[in-house]
């Protein structure tokens, strides 16, 4: 293995592992792409680097600049790592109800945490970051939900890696957050083979939507609209915390220690495998299990863990 010049060169080229022994359909293969192998520990390292380097190319990042970004954890951690190596400061607007490990990792990389109300979930963090960015025009707001450098990171790296390692892919299943992974990988795979089916998995909105006063407070990521996500996706399905945790646990049977959103993606893949005759389903594992140990997801009583998961953003 060659010597890498920087930890940034560790981003991407993540492994794809066959976990078909968990598939309910012997003719449906399931492969998982382990994004926890990135240096910051999640798929979001890819967009962190892409967002920051795109801003550098556009000349909107002065040396020593301060960045602000809403994140429930992983993008913040990835951006904090990249910012540290490149000499920028980062302020992360973080919902109060994320796991303790996400906060600890932001501290490791020296990011400043600005807390947003947990009851408002990611929506609340986005709104607060937008307000703060308006109040502080000297801060640079790269806005992962509205910046095409997000899906482009996946179009340029995640998608090509999947196709290189598994050109037989028939279905791609991933979580829907900013929609960047689905848009970028989906567009790349469909350009290679228009028959590839793109499935989005989303967590239940739960109590988070109770904070909305009217429907027009609703939110669709601008990148989803700009990239015509509605026509790119073939299916969008909700996976609740119980199934997410059950499948996160099942992953350990094949030696995969992954975060809870990987269990959600796998639950989506299982549903997909049950509905198709044959095929090769590729799922994204956004991160490893380390950041969720405090939730007791693998070891505590299932009912208790599910109740706890309802109050914590794990996706």
């Amino acid at each position: 293995m060659a010597v890498l010049k920087s930890a940034l060169d560790l981003i991407g080229n993540t492994p794809l592992v066959d976990i078909s022994s968990l598939s309910p359909n012997p003719s449906a293969r399931i492969l998982v792409k382990l994004e926890g192998n990135n240096p910051g520990g999640s798929v979001k390292d890819r967009i962190a680097r892409s967002l920051i380097e795109d801003a550098e190319r556009r000349g909107i990042l002065e040396p020593g600049a301060t960045l602000i970004e809403p994140s429930s954890g992983n993008t913040g951690i990835g951006m904090a790592l990249v910012a540290k190596l490149k000499g920028y400061h980062l302020k992360v607007v973080l919902p109060a109800n994320v796991s303790i490990e996400r906060r600890q990792l932001l501290d490791v990389w020296g990011a400043e945490i600005i807390e947003s109300p947990g009851s408002e979930g990611s929506n609340g963090a986005v709104r607060m970051a937008q307000r703060l960015a308006t109040e502080h025009p000297e801060w640079v707001f790269l806005y992962q939900y509205g910046n095409n450098a997000n899906p482009l990171a996946h179009y340029a790296s995640t998608g090509p890696e999947i196709y290189r390692d598994c050109p037989q892919v028939t279905h791609f299943v991933a979580g829907l957050g900013t929609s960047g992974t689905l848009l970028g990988v989906g567009r790349f795979l469909k350009e290679k083979n228009p028959a590839v089916q793109i499935w989005a998995v989303e967590p239940p909105t739960g109590e988070m939507v109770d904070g909305l006063r009217n429907l027009d407070d609703g939110y669709i990521p601008p990148i989803f609209i700009d990239n015509d996500g509605e026509h790119l996706l073939n299916r969008k399905t909700v996976v609740g915390p119980r199934d997410s945790i059950i499948w996160t646990r099942r992953l350990t049977e094949v030696g995969i220690f992954a975060g809870i959103s990987t269990g959600a993606a796998l639950a989506g893949a299982i549903k997909c495998a049950e509905t198709i005759e044959e095929g090769t389903i590729v799922i994204i594992s956004p991160d490893g299990g380390w950041k969720y140990l405090s939730t007791g997801a693998w070891t505590d009583d299932l009912d208790e863990v599910v109740e706890r998961a309802k109050r914590v953003i794990y996706f």
Binding site: S72, T178, Y219, I220, I313
Partner: protein
Amino acid sequence: MPVEVRLPTLLRPAANGSVSVIVDGETIGEVLKALVSEYPGLSGQVLTEDGTLHRFVNVYLNDDDVRYLDRLETKVGSGDVISILPAVAGGSN
């Protein structure tokens, strides 16, 4: 066919505070029209004036977003649960 429709908190005042209601219909479109005719306060909130889904509303047939099934033409069957939810940002970021 009678099916259960679950309403989000912010639409409940227009439906006498109901968390879920039973309405008739063979497709999602028929169900939503029946819902709005029973609770006229919901008109414009779920379906727009030209009869399409409000952009900030997601309608689920059991666990699946009907925009990626057959939209308003999606068939419903006995025992199905339809959920109406406002569009919000997901979490994985």
